[in-house]
Symmetry: C2
């Protein structure tokens, strides 16, 4: 039976979830996770404790309680539950206060910066990615920080969006399609920005699987077409010395961070 | 002078960054962060330790080292640096082994699931969000988990993309524009999906600021137009009992998690 886990925060609980997920994924067990964000009042905190205690009674097992709570008052209420506490934030704050010689000044909602200047940069990057997706226009490549290339369905759009959303990077992307394959080359708009180009490739069998889901039993999705396209594009990457990464079996996070690591573009957390 | 911080991982380092950021944002200090992902070999780990030690020599201050490293061998190398260690993963793994009565089985890259079934669901959600953005088509609302409404530039697109990318939720969005304002009502395609509707609103002054950046000194961006549109749309939300949230001064994370909390849609981490 799956072990019950609670992720609790006085904010969005994203930090608690990301971290709890990372820790629990090291264990070969099933977990049933419930996320409770915005626990901003003592009253709500008591309701949460009641839920945790009820879970203990119902299942007979103490639930795991991962919390990332800024307010000491609310944290104290949560400590009082029958669950097994794992205090993400506080475990590290006290040692850091010693090391930095400065007291923490707990302020809720500071984790995701909404200072308008940096935030607008992020929204701008998202809109840039959307407006310059899939070779819709070739006019704005001069404004790009990065331009992703690759065959249809190899992961260009999700990677562009992730990079823009998480890191505020302006990413355009450009597809190589069936008709390009006989004489595959970079259009002038891309040649002019060669230093910004980064290629994606993919295992042809995986591409075939993905394309079958989109357009079953078409030439577009045939193994032969997938193999041809991947081979031609990889040959071009090598010939033109365009760095590239294989997206097969990689999550969007892994693809995006690999690209950043290889290009040296900066990662700014928001 | 800003304190040097290193985020180190044998994976994408996203967990280390998100968590380090949350912890450090509690302190009223400037930090200069460097993220080093994919430290997958002992050799690379030694190079990182050299960088950390050099930072100590250069700045005279021990850098903070936040690491989320699965491999015990690589972790041991990193422990040997002159920096101040904060071991995100291991601090919680040992107590959990006791509580769960099970040993951790450290496997790299498990944090972001790439099991094809769940992963394809996420990519599908991203493509759904893109294809059904901004009222481009009214034909697929039956497939949506959620449909966001609101005036132009109140945050519908970034919120839709974030929800699809982070949680695999299918989100369409629909804009109310200037011409709608005289007789504002829901088109039939939206009326048919009323239970899926969720509204966004925004402070008119903030909307004005955002629109000025996009199209300066136009009627679209005038305070009067912004005020009118916001008022009309909020009146409609109230009249039709459509739940809504104010996006002013909220990050995409906060908007998205607020929507999920209010609608009760499930958050599945990937």
């Amino acid at each position: 039976m799956a072990r019950q886990v609670f992720y609790i925060s006085d904010g969005t609980a994203i930090t608690a979830e990301v971290f709890g997920h990372a820790v629990l994924s090291q264990f070969p067990l099933e977990f049933n996770a419930l996320t409770i964000p915005f626990v901003e009042t003592v009253e709500k905190a008591h309701e949460v404790v009641a839920d945790i205690n009820e879970s203990f009674i119902t299942t007979g097992e103490r639930p795991l309680v991962f919390h990332s709570i800024v307010s000491p008052e609310i944290r104290d209420v949560i400590y009082g539950s029958e669950g097994l506490d794992h205090d993400f934030l506080n475990t590290f704050v006290a040692p850091l206060e010693q090391q930095l010689g400065v007291s923490a000044k707990p302020v809720m909602h500071r984790t995701h910066s909404i200072a308008n200047e940096t935030y607008d940069g992020r929204i701008e990057a998202i809109h840039y990615a959307l407006d310059n997706d899939d070779g819709q226009t070739l006019k704005n490549f001069d404004k790009a920080d990065l331009i992703l290339l690759g065959v249809s369905r190899c992961g260009k759009t999700p990677s562009s969006l992730y990079l823009s959303m998480q890191f505020g990077i302006k990413v355009a992307n450009y597809p190589f399609v069936e008709d390009d394959m006989d004489n595959l080359k970079l259009p002038p708009a891309l040649q002019a920005q060669k230093h910004k180009l980064f290629g994606l490739t993919i295992n042809p069998a995986r591409l075939h699987e993905i394309r079958q889901n989109r357009m079953n039993n078409s030439r577009y999705s045939s193994m032969r077409q997938c193999r041809t396209e991947v081979q031609e594009v990889e040959m071009m990457y090598k010939k033109l010395r365009i760095p590239y990464v294989d997206t097969t079996n990689k999550s969007v996070e892994e693809i995006a961070t690999k690209i950043l690591a290889e290009t040296g573009l900066e990662r700014h957390m928001f």
